[in-house]
C-alpha cells in the first residue's frame, strides 16, 4: 500500500500534472460559482476534451474540476442568494443574510474553510474505506452486483420528493431501455434499432450524459437573461478572511457531525451533495442552543454545517464509484464516464489491477483541495466577477464546447446528433418534472444488470433463489425493499400521530 501511495504521489507531483490540477480547480471554481452551472456541467464539458490526454494528466485534471466546482457554489449562494450549484442551496439561508449585513468576507471565509476541512476529512474516509470495501467486493458474485443495481434505483426512488418516486422508476426504465439499443453481444442479434444501422453500436454513454444534463439546463438558463440580480459588493481583506478559520475550528462539533452526514449521504448511490447540505443544516439547527437565530445570518455553524457536508459528500460519492462502479451522484457519474473513456472499468478489480491509478485519484483529491485552499485566498475577487457574467455570453460558448467534446470522442457527427437527441429527451423530462439522474444511471447500469442477471441465472441453473439465500445479496435486497417501504410507513404513522387528539 505504501508503494502504491508513493507511486500516486510521484504521478501527481509532476509539474504538468500539478498545473493541470490547478487549472482544473480554477476552472471549476469559476464555473461552480456561476449560478446554474453545476459541477456536473463542468466535468461534462471537460471529459471529452481529455480523450486525447494521457490518463495521468486527465484524471487529476478532472479531480481538480470536481473539487473546484462543488466548492465554487458557495460564492453565488453567499453574494447573490442563488446557489452556484444545488450543493450550496442551504448555504444561502444564512450566508446571504450575513453578507447583506456587511460581513461578506466572514461568510465567505466560514464557507471556504468549512468546505476545505469537510473535503479533506472525506478524502481520509475515502482512503480508509475504499480499499476495505474493494476487498469485500472482490468476493461479490453476479447475484450481489445485480442486487446492488436494484439497491441503487431503490435509493434514488426513496430520496425523490413526495409523489415523484414512481416517476424516478419510470426514468430508470427509460435509461435501461435505451441501454438495450444495439447489438446483443451474447446472441449476435440487434435489438430496438428499428432498422437504423447507425444504432447497431448502441448509444455511447458520454454524448447521452452531456446531452441529458447540459441542454435542458442551458435552455432553462435563458430565463435568467436580463434579470437584474444584485451581487453584494465586498471589500476583500485577506486578514479578515483568514481570521474566520478560528471560528470554523470553534464549531468542531458541527463540523464533525456535518462531515459524517456528508460522507454517509455521499456513499448512498444516486444521492449527493445536493441533499447532504440540507440535512446537515437542519441537524445543526436541531442541535443548536439558538435554533431561532438560524436564517438570520448570525451563527457561524449555520454556514459551516452545510458547506462541510457538501464537500464531505465528494469523498463519500467516490467510494461506491471506485469500488463498485456505481456512482454516488451525478458528478461522479461523469467521472465514471471519464474512467470508461480511458479504458478503465471502476470496481474491485481496479484496486487489484490498477492500484497506482486508484492512488493517483486519492492523491489528486487532496492536491485539488490544497489548490482550492490556496486559490480561494487570492481569487475571491475573480469568482465574484464570474458570478455576474451575463448568461447570454456563457450559454453559446458552453453549447459549442459540448458539441466539440461529443464529436471528438469518435470523430463522427452521429454522436453530436445523439447529444442533441438526448438533450431534447432531457428537456421533455425536465418539463414533466421527471428526474434525469435515473435515466443516466439506467443507461450506464443497464448493461451491467443484464450481464450479471444472465450470469447469475446461468450459474444458479436458472434459479432466482440465490438472490435471496446468499447473505450479502439477500441483505442488499432487504435494505432496498426497506428503503422503499419504510418512508411510506413512517410518513403514515407520523401523520396519524399528528392528527391524533392531544
Amino acid at each position: 500500500m505504501y508503494d502504491l501511495f508513493l507511486t500516486g504521489v510521484a504521478a501527481v507531483c509532476q509539474p504538468w500534472t500539478l498545473v493541470a490540477v490547478m487549472l482544473g480547480v480554477a476552472g471549476g471554481l469559476v464555473i461552480g460559482s456561476i449560478p446554474g452551472l453545476t459541477s456536473t456541467m463542468a466535468i461534462a464539458l471537460l471529459v471529452p476534451l481529455t480523450y486525447a490526454m494521457d490518463i495521468n494528466l486527465a484524471l487529476p485534471l478532472l479531480m481538480g474540476v470536481y473539487c473546484g466546482a462543488i466548492s465554487g457554489g458557495l460564492v453565488g449562494a453567499i453574494l447573490l442568494n442563488i446557489p452556484g450549484t444545488p450543493a450550496s442551496a442551504a448555504t444561502c439561508l444564512d450566508g446571504y443574510p450575513m453578507a447583506a449585513g456587511g460581513q461578506a468576507v466572514r461568510a465567505l471565509g466560514l464557507g471556504v474553510y468549512a468546505s476545505m476541512i469537510g473535503g479533506v476529512l472525506s478524502g481520509l474516509a475515502l482512503v480508509l474505506i475504499a480499499p476495505l470495501l474493494a476487498r469485500v467486493a472482490l468476493s461479490f458474485g453476479p447475484w450481489e452486483y445485480f442486487s446492488l443495481v436494484i439497491f441503487t434505483f431503490s435509493c434514488i426512488s426513496a430520496m425523490s420528493p413526495k409523489g415523484r418516486a414512481i416517476k424516478a422508476f419510470m426514468a430508470a426504465f427509460i435509461g435501461i431501455l435505451l441501454s438495450l439499443v444495439g447489438l446483443d453481444e451474447a446472441s449476435g442479434q440487434v435489438r430496438l434499432t428499428f432498422g437504423f444501422t447507425a444504432l447497431e453500436s448502441g448509444f455511447y454513454e458520454l454524448p447521452a450524459l452531456i446531452g441529458l444534463y447540459a441542454i435542458p439546463q442551458l435552455l432553462a438558463d435563458t430565463d435568467d437573461i436580463g434579470r437584474s440580480a444584485t451581487v453584494l459588493k465586498i471589500k476583500f481583506q485577506l486578514r479578515a478572511f483568514v481570521a474566520t478559520l478560528r471560528e470554523v475550528v470553534a464549531c468542531r462539533r458541527d463540523l464533525g457531525r456535518s462531515t459524517f452526514i456528508g460522507i454517509i449521504i455521499g456513499i448512498l448511490p444516486g444521492v449527493g451533495p445536493g441533499l447532504s447540505n440540507i440535512v446537515a443544516y437542519s441537524q445543526a439547527q436541531r442541535a443548536s442552543r439558538h435554533p431561532d437565530l438560524f436564517g438570520k445570518g448570525v451563527l457561524p455553524e449555520a454556514i459551516v454545517a452545510p458547506e462541510a457536508a457538501n464537500n464531505a459528500s465528494m469523498g463519500g460519492a467516490l467510494i461506491p464509484m471506485l469500488t463498485l462502479g456505481i456512482p454516488g451522484d451525478a458528478s461522479t457519474l461523469m467521472m465514471l464516464g471519464a474512467f470508461m473513456l480511458h479504458g478503465i472499468d471502476p470496481g474491485p478489480l481496479l484496486f487489484r489491477d490498477h492500484g497506482e491509478i486508484v492512488w493517483m485519484v486519492f492523491v489528486s483529491f487532496f492536491v485539488a483541495f490544497f489548490f482550492c485552499f490556496i486559490l480561494y485566498h487570492f481569487f475571491i475577487p475573480l469568482t465574484v466577477k464570474a458570478v455576474s457574467i451575463p448568461r447570454q455570453y456563457v450559454i453559446p460558448v458552453l453549447l459549442i464546447l459540448c458539441t466539440v467534446g461529443c464529436y471528438s470522442l469518435n470523430n463522427r457527427m452521429f454522436d453530436v446528433y445523439c447529444f442533441l437527441g438526448f438533450g431534447l429527451l432531457g428537456y421533455l423530462l425536465h418539463i414533466a418534472r421527471v428526474p434525469v439522474l435515473p435515466v443516466i444511471l439506467g443507461l450506464i447500469l443497464g448493461p451491467m444488470a443484464e450481464t450479471q442477471l444472465s450470469l447469475a441465472l446461468a450459474f444458479g441453473n436458472d434459479s432466482v433463489l440465490p438472490f435471496i439465500t446468499r447473505p450479502i445479496s439477500g441483505g442488499i435486497l432487504l435494505v432496498a425493499l426497506l428503503s422503499l417501504v419504510l418512508p411510506a410507513v413512517l410518513g403514515r404513522s407520523r401523520r396519524k400521530l399528528a392528527n391524533a387528539p392531544a
Binding site: 409523489g163 446483443d184 447570454q392 459549442i400 466539440v404 444472465s454
Partner: protein, 152 residues
Amino acid sequence: MRKTDLIFSAVFILCFVVAASQLFKLEDMNSAVVSAKLFPWLVVGLGLVVGVLETIRTLLSASDDKRRSLRAISAVAFAPRRMMLLALFVAYLFAIQPIGFLLATAIFCVATIVLLAPRRSFGTVAVACAIAVGTSSFIYVLLVVYLQAFLP
C-alpha cells in the same frame, strides 16, 4: 400538473409498447431461460407496470394546481428565448458540415449572443464578435494544435 403527468405516462406506455413490438422479432438461440429476450422483456414488462401504476396514481391524485397547469407549464417550456436558442442550436449542428465548423461556430456564437441579449446595441455585437473569435481560436488551438484531434 395532472394533465402533464397523464401525457407523460401515456407517451411512456406508448414507447414501451412499441419497444415490446420490436422484441417479438428476436429469436431464441437456445431453450435456456437466459437469452437475448429475457432482460428486455423484464424491463419492458416492469416498465409497463410502473407506467400503469403512475397513471392510476395521477388519476387518483388531487385536482390540478393552477400554477402547474398544462398551460402554465407550456408557457414556460416553450418560452420564446428557449425556443430561439433551441432553433439556433439545431440550425448550427446541421450547418457544421455544409459550411464548415469554424464559420458555423462563429455565426452561431454571434447570432445567439445578439438575439438573446435583452438590449441590442453596437456594444453587444462587438462583444459577441470578440467571444466568437475567442471561442473559435481557443477550440482550434486546443484541439488541432495541442491535442491533435479533428474538428467536426
